[in-house]
């Protein structure tokens, strides 16, 4: 053979070297360490690879749209298709050896190595996350065993699922945002950059116009600003916030079908979804109606109190002056004056106990009669006096009853044990005024006084005169009778 024919021309050392080379070649072939051979065909050499259909897997992978790569049993990259290079933004020659692993962090490297090891035996899938440029990308990897002629390895496909994951994350985020919005106690309205309503929660729906979504803010909710009604509108606030300037704590009146919402505190903040650009604004409205109603009531009460104090002082001055002009001695003055002031005070106590409301005629009368007799004693009868009166009427009526009682105690029915007094409701007059009658009986014989004291004046003037109200005092011999007419608006028929 050729070796024998050459033997004579070669040294022993060269022969040994050639033998060693031949043996090494056979060993390498047997042990699968080579996968190509050079065949001499005439004057030229040709290289044949032992990959079997090896070339065809590359052709096949290259034709695929999704990223694909082949690895040997040690996990070394043999081949990456163009789609994968594009996905990972790398040149094909940048993927030699373990460069792909170098792109992964520790956690994803572990996932990738595990997939490579498992896919040598059977089909496996897993997800990895890779930073490509500035973006975090997610890939679904599917690995399966593959034979490259004499060697076996793994083929892995890379499917980009970043968009799918982002969509799922966005959907989850949207769901979360919606539930936050829905759970808020305050009314929340979200507007886009042009000031149109895009989202609204249940609390806001109650105070907005019908179908507010898509409407400009000022049409969706009707607000007026007490401090600057001409200068500002809801639309201005939304425009400011959407422009990047937050607005906080403005008070506004709101026109709405919800009866329990009349005043709100409005705040608006720019809505920044990503980056620095505002996407619109978020408007929150806090219901101030109860607080505002309490404030208004407080102001009303303060005004009322002021008015009443002034009236009372004027009345005290008048009583003092008129009492002084009718009494002869200091002692008489003192007695009459303090009696009258005490009557005034008693009515005020009643009024304040009843919060200046819901006072009845019988309450005023009882207080005046209390020092002298009780209705249960049988001397005094009351009928139909369960009628509510306003505070002004209560004060006047208190003075009238005081004068009548003082007179009765001094000279009339209450000055003797046998005397009787009846106070009763006579009925409504045609103009709606209420008439009650004070009638004394079985007391001493009555003669009209020769001079008219202030008591008499007070009685006749306290409730006004004429058809709308007033009193008529009669000194009958059997006892004093007084017709008291309370104007329509001074009493409330129960």
């Amino acid at each position: 053979m050729a070796v024998v024919s050459l033997a004579s021309a070669l040294t022993r050392e060269e022969l040994e070297a050639r033998l060693y080379e031949a043996e090494e070649t056979l060993r390498a072939i047997r042990e699968g360490e080579i996968d190509a051979v050079v065949i001499k065909g005439g004057t030229t050499e040709q290289v044949f690879t032992l990959e079997g259909d090896g070339q065809s897997y590359r052709t096949f992978m290259e034709a695929m749209d999704i990223g694909a790569a082949a690895f040997d049993a040690e996990g070394q990259l043999l081949y990456a298709n163009q789609a994968l290079c594009t996905l990972l933004d790398r040149q094909a020659d940048a993927f030699s050896g373990q460069a792909l692993l170098g792109m992964l962090d520790a956690v994803n490297q572990t996932t990738f190595r595990r997939l490579l090891a498992q896919a040598l035996k059977e089909r496996q899938s897993d997800e990895i996350h890779v930073r490509v440029g500035d973006a975090e990308r997610s890939f679904l990897l599917t690995g399966a065993p593959i034979d490259f002629g004499i060697v076996s390895g793994v083929a892995i496909t890379f499917t980009d699922i970043s968009a799918r994951e982002q969509t799922a994350a966005a959907r989850e985020s949207e769901r979360l945002a919606r539930s936050i919005l829905a759970s808020a106690n305050e009314a929340v309205i979200v507007c886009d950059r042009s000031g149109r309503v895009t989202h609204i929660n249940a609390a806001a729906e109650r105070i907005c116009a019908e179908a507010p979504i898509g409407k400009p803010f000022e049409e969706a909710i009707e607000l007026t600003f007490a401090d600057a009604s001409e200068l500002m509108s809801g639309g201005d606030i939304v425009a400011m916030a959407a422009g990047g300037t937050p607005v906080q704590g403005l008070e506004a009146a709101v026109k709405t079908s919800a009866v329990d919402v009349t005043d709100v505190m409005i705040s608006a903040a720019p809505l920044i979804v990503s980056g620095d650009r505002t996407q619109g604004c978020v408007v929150t409205l806090i219901n101030l109606s109860q607080r505002k109603a309490a404030e208004r009531r407080q102001a009303l009460l303060m005004g009322e109190l002021d008015h009443r104090v002034k009236n009372t002082l004027a009345m005290v001055l008048a009583i003092s002056a008129r009492t002084a002009s009718h009494e002869r001695t200091i002692e008489d003055f003192q007695k009459s004056f303090s009696g009258r002031i005490q009557a005034l005070a008693a009515t005020h106590t009643l009024l304040s106990n009843a919060s200046w409301e819901n006072l009845q005629i019988k309450d005023v009368l009882r207080v005046e009669l209390a020092p002298y007799a009780t209705p249960s004693s049988g001397r005094i009868t009351m009928e139909g006096l369960d009628v509510s009166i306003d505070s002004k009427t209560a004060v006047s009526l208190g003075l009238v009853f005081h004068e009548l009682t003082t007179n009765a105690v001094k000279y009339g029915a209450l000055s003797t044990r046998s005397g009787r007094l009846s106070v009763r409701r006579m009925g409504l007059l045609s103009d709606g005024a209420l008439q009650i009658e004070w009638e004394e009986r079985d007391g001493p014989l009555v003669t009209p006084p020769t001079t008219s004291g202030f008591g008499q004046t007070l009685i006749s003037r306290s409730l006004g005169s004429g058809p709308n109200g007033g009193t008529k005092l009669e000194y009958r011999p059997s006892g004093v009778v007084c017709q008291i007419v309370i104007p329509k608006y001074g009493h409330f028929v129960t």
Binding site: A17, E21, E24, T25, R27, A28, I29, E31, E33, I34, D35, A36, V37, V38, T44, E45, Q46, V47, T49, L50, E51, G54, D72, E74, Q76, L78, Y79, S96, G97, F148, V151, G153
Partner: protein
């Protein structure tokens, strides 16, 4: 056989494109050179797929094959160079 002190090791690796064993041989040789021959070697990689006629110079039959050209004598190591010790013995630089 002893190696002249300052003479670099000149190596020629014959591969056939990107067959798995060619790629493995390149990888293994890079590792051996960097770990054991730091700065003292010169490697030429010849792709016989592209230039099959270059097989003639060293009478290459099986691929991959590494040829140590210098220092003489010329030595061939056939296979994917996965046995590092064997490669080092043949390059006469075993430690």
């Amino acid at each position: 056989m002893s190696q002249a002190t300052n003479e670099p090791v000149k190596l020629v690796l014959y591969v056939a494109g990107e067959t798995p064993k060619s790629l493995a041989a390149i990888r293994n040789l890079e590792k051996i050179c960097s770990e054991h021959l730091a700065g003292k070697y010169k490697v030429e990689v010849v792709d016989l797929k592209k230039q099959p006629q270059l097989a003639r110079e060293h009478g290459i039959v099986a691929i991959p094959t590494l040829v140590k050209e210098l220092p003489v004598p010329i030595r061939k190591i056939i296979g994917d160079l996965s046995d590092t010790q064997k490669v080092l013995v043949h390059l006469s630089v075993e430690e």
